[in-house]
Symmetry: C2
Amino acid sequence: MISRVFIDEGNVIIVELPTYLAALNAFTISYPQIVGIPVDENGMRTDILEKELKRLQAEGKKVKFIYTIPVAHNPAGVTLSLDRKKHLLELASRYDVAVIEDDPYSYFIYESGVDVTPLKTLDTEGRVTYLGTLSKILSPGLRLGWVLGNHHVIDALERAKQTADLHTSTLTQFIALESIRRGVVDKTIEKAKQIYKMKRDVMLDALSDSMPENTWWPRPVGGLFVMIFLPSLDIDTKKLLPEAIARGVAYVPGASFFANGGGWNSMRLNFSFPPPDKIAEGIKIIGDLAKERIKSPSEPITPEKFYNF
Amino acid sequence: MISRVFIDEGNVIIVELPTYLAALNAFTISYPQIVGIPVDENGMRTDILEKELKRLQAEGKKVKFIYTIPVAHNPAGVTLSLDRKKHLLELASRYDVAVIEDDPYSYFIYESGVDVTPLKTLDTEGRVTYLGTLSKILSPGLRLGWVLGNHHVIDALERAKQTADLHTSTLTQFIALESIRRGVVDKTIEKAKQIYKMKRDVMLDALSDSMPENTWWPRPVGGLFVMIFLPSLDIDTKKLLPEAIARGVAYVPGASFFANGGGWNSMRLNFSFPPPDKIAEGIKIIGDLAKERIKSPSEPITPEKFYNF
């Protein structure tokens, strides 16, 4: 819907590097020009965003929106700091750009002191369209979410939705309503959060134990994923996947999450689904495989290095 | 999905005059050039279709598809004859055009001897994409349907579907599966068919009793709707609607179903929803209102006359 409503062919949109694969696919079918802004442990590099907005303005190009997953980023597992949130909104205002805030994971934060204030809360100009989902806090099979935005955006989305399928299933909407009303959603969140935290810790420990030296991963404060970068720019995790699967473990090759190429040496690992002992076992298998294939590990590949900032 | 997969901006598509409003809206957002082919009591006028295909070919224009609702047409209430079905497919083959067959109503036929053979059954070239729906035979609130088509079309639709919403709710799909398996759908059809037939007859009788002389309507052999054409080309049923609603009855102004203007004197009446006594009462109200507004009824307005064939 966002793709349909905001993007005309050739428009410029800005996404994070990496970003959510399904969003990328949804945007791509409207044929935009996609500009990527790398993330680091504190989320989108808003200093680079600033440079890019300046460059695009100088080239006379209007940016339709900045798409961001500020909290517990999928796939990168990073979270945008409050300072950068403010910087992002200030830039959006200065360059008159809409912001699409995709927030499926802020219910799943495993550490105290993490700022999860939505951009929408800080938005004084009606510039942010906020996307929420019941997929993680009730059930992904219901296909339900919600949108907060200004009246123009909501009106346009409503028309696009009507045109696409008239409306969302009323049955699943009633199920969601009652699940919220009766506390099922709150209980699901509390229960899932404890389990996910434990599993995240198992995965982080296993990564420390099993991965080749100089492998890099941002430590996720929440969400469902860890993204790891193997310490070699020659390795392609997509080519490695069949062998990993043959040994009993799967991952998503990181390159799929990068808008314009890159991320060949990265992979997205999910810790919410497998049981804890399988997580440890799986990471050991991936670690062994990576060690076999990387004969001489390079220096640590930080995002700085990786993206040639 | 059909709109997204088949239509690029400026492509020519062919629809019936009138045609299903939501389909028209869904097509329109892909910015096609829409060519309309009028219907009469035997469905789409394939003789006119032939002329239009010839004309478009002469103009060097490629037609992407012909969209048709062959059985118990919404809104027109007409059904395509077997001869015309064959003619339509022959033309589609000769001019190499895809056919989109939308068939929500063939489960609801109230008379014997009506041929409801789908175009898809007669299709030897994989040219027809057939659309079915559970909206009328189980529940509209589930938002479920199905598609039959050749592998190229199904692959493309699958990709478009994934991009749009990943997948349809698994819960509602399981509900549908079990409803079919346990005979709920079959029972719903049998029950609904009897009730709808009775209500259709009530409406047809009421129309004969109450409408101004020379009002015209095709007699629907099935489906949920009667479309009536008031005997004056000066009357606009859209302007009449607020007064009808003030008197307690609503209808859909017919003009909304016409791709490129027209149908101002028509309205779509639904007989499946209201109880029988309300149907008679409602038609009486509409008839009285029409009589008040049409001072001197014209000659009968047959489709021939209406469209200036």
